[in-house]
């Protein structure tokens, strides 16, 4: 629980807001690469409250600039791609790749007005299916050597979805290991063989027990939270009662991402990216340590649930997320279908556009959220005072050492739980066809 001022400080994302200023110190997903895949490589982007236009230049590099022309405010998405930048279709004003206005053809010869007009322009790069941008001061940090960036493109699938709520409550559901045993509880277990590409649908670790059963029957895990060089490692321990313990290792990657297991061979690294104060996109990178990802199948599964071009989920508040009280009696805890993404979406959206933390009562199962908020506040304070190091604002040399993070489900003898998960992960990396070794 906190005051309104403190809640604003950690949630609002405008360029003049404390959280907005902190987030701008990091690379943020701006779009999926496929969004520039049409006949004309231009897409609108709204990121941290700023309206931008993303485009591919003639030299194949990426441009990201203010979306509305500084003349009369029309949409540069319909402009003409020229000279590394965009020419507005209204009066032909041209902006080069730095956002500098270079020409105003309807002005008199010799006019120098254009020299005083410049729009925002941010660097943009593509990595493994996601287009990233940096909207902060000075030079951007280096990308850490996370698995989702190290893996070859054949082994990473990227997708995104719109949630109609503030980014922070979206991030916080990802660092809340207790909720999976309730919100995502399946009252019956599907055959794990049908579970490709679906969270919680594989067998748990080396057992024959479906993960859904582990979560359902052992709903009170012990949580351990530790700070790391990338953010937090969160471990949920479930004693299975037969001398065995289930270990689930998830992670917070500062400031707004999580890395969680999806199946025995895949992990998900997921960013919660502010569109503005009341909307966000989750951007997921599914990384495989086994077979190359079946991108077509994974995209097809998800396009059944999302509309284009805005990747908004078809199940949403307007249709009650498909809520079915009969289903809630026999099949799912929520009555909202089998897609766990929808459950999360309901939870974070039903808190309200921005969760009112002045009325909150955190419990012991929120230990990771508590730790994360301390890190978040400390980072916001660092930016405000202009002193202290920010987590993951790193140079190339340091970035090489920030790997993984390990994210896995494992079962082993209760007393040996600490080696059980590291061994299991090492085994998975050793048999991986791409170099996933941790140094």
């Amino acid at each position: 629980m906190m005051s309104q001022e403190k809640n604003d400080e950690i949630t609002l994302v405008g360029a003049d807001q404390p959280a907005g200023q902190l987030l701008r110190h990091y690379w943020m997903p701006a779009a999926l690469a496929v969004e520039l895949g049409g006949p004309r490589p231009v897409a609108p982007v709204r990121l941290m409250g700023e309206d931008l236009v993303l485009f591919r230049r003639e030299d194949n590099t990426l441009g990201l600039m203010s979306r509305f022309c500084p003349h009369r405010g029309v949409d540069l998405c319909y402009g003409r791609l020229e000279g590394g930048g965009i020419r507005c279709s209204f009066h032909g004003w041209h902006f080069d790749q730095t956002g500098q206005c270079t020409e105003q053809p309807a002005e008199p010869d010799g006019s120098r007005m254009h020299e005083r007009i410049k729009i925002s322009s941010y660097p943009a790069v593509e990595k493994n299916g996601v287009i990233w941008t940096y909207m902060g001061p000075g030079e951007p940090p280096a990308f850490p050597a996370l698995d989702c960036f190290r893996a070859p493109d054949t082994h990473v699938f990227a997708f995104k979805g719109l949630w109609e709520c503030n980014w922070l409550q979206a991030l916080e559901i990802g660092i809340d290991p207790a909720h999976a045993s309730f919100l995502h509880r399946f009252l019956q277990d599907e055959d794990p063989a049908d579970g490709y590409g679906k969270q919680f649908r594989d067998k748990a670790a080396q057992s024959d027990m479906p993960m859904t059963k582990v979560l359902r029957e052992f709903d009170n895990p012990e949580l351990k939270v530790e700070e790391t060089d990338y953010g937090l490692r969160i471990i949920a321990l479930r004693d299975l009662g037969n001398g065995q313990r289930h270990v689930r290792v998830t992670n917070q990657v500062f400031p707004c991402a999580i890395t969680i297991p999806m199946s025995n061979e895949m992990t998900i690294t997921q960013w919660h990216v502010p569109v503005d104060d009341t909307h966000c996109y989750w951007y997921s990178m599914f990384t495989s340590f086994g077979a190359p990802v079946d991108k077509e199948k994974m995209r097809e599964q998800r396009l059944k649930e999302h509309r284009l071009p805005d990747y908004a989920p078809l199940r949403n508040k307007s249709n009650e997320y498909g809520y079915d009280p009969e289903e809630q009696k026999t099949l799912t805890y929520t009555g909202m279908g089998l897609d766990i993404n929808v459950h999360d979406q309901w939870a974070v959206e039903s808190m309200g556009a921005v969760q009112d933390r002045t009325r909150e009562h955190l419990a012991s199962s929120d230990a990771a959220i508590v730790r994360y908020r301390r890190m978040l506040r400390a980072a916001i304070k660092s930016v405000k005072l202009g002193e202290g190091d920010l987590p993951l604002v790193i140079d190339e040399a340091t970035a090489k050492d920030i790997q993984g993070p390990i994210s896995i489900d494992a079962i082993g003898p209760t007393e040996e739980w600490e080696s059980v998960w590291t061994d299991r992960d090492a085994g998975r990396r050793a048999s991986c066809t791409w170099d996933a070794a941790l140094s």
Partner: protein
């Protein structure tokens, strides 16, 4: 709706922040709703987190209702030194007699 009183929160460095509070609310609520630094109140007053720990001076301390077992047990987890005058401020309701009291904020809550 209660009546207005003043509570003086004393920071670890000795400086004082006077806030307007209402009888019936807890000392913790008076701090959180006035944005007083140093009282975290993560569990929102459920006596579950020991991050609303404060010290009262001796005179006030003896006037307060005795701590219930739940509070005494939870106080053991407080991060800062636990003194005879330590209380969890979410468990202390403000009354008219407490107008003007001083409440000492410990050096840390975690």
């Amino acid at each position: 709706m209660g009546s207005k009183i003043t509570v003086h929160f004393v920071r670890p460095d000795g400086s004082v922040e006077a806030v307007e509070a209402e009888t019936g609310e807890s000392v913790m609520q008076a701090a959180v709703f006035n944005d007083v630094e140093g009282i975290e109140a993560e569990c929102g007053g459920s006596c579950m987190c020991a991050t609303c720990h404060v010290y009262f001076d001796d005179a006030v301390s003896s006037l307060l209702p005795e701590a219930e077992e739940e509070e005494t047990v939870m106080l053991e987890d407080a991060a800062a030194e636990v003194r005879p005058t330590s209380r969890l401020s979410c468990q202390i309701k403000l009354t008219a007699e407490m107008d003007g009291i001083k409440v000492q904020i410990p050096d840390r809550q975690y």
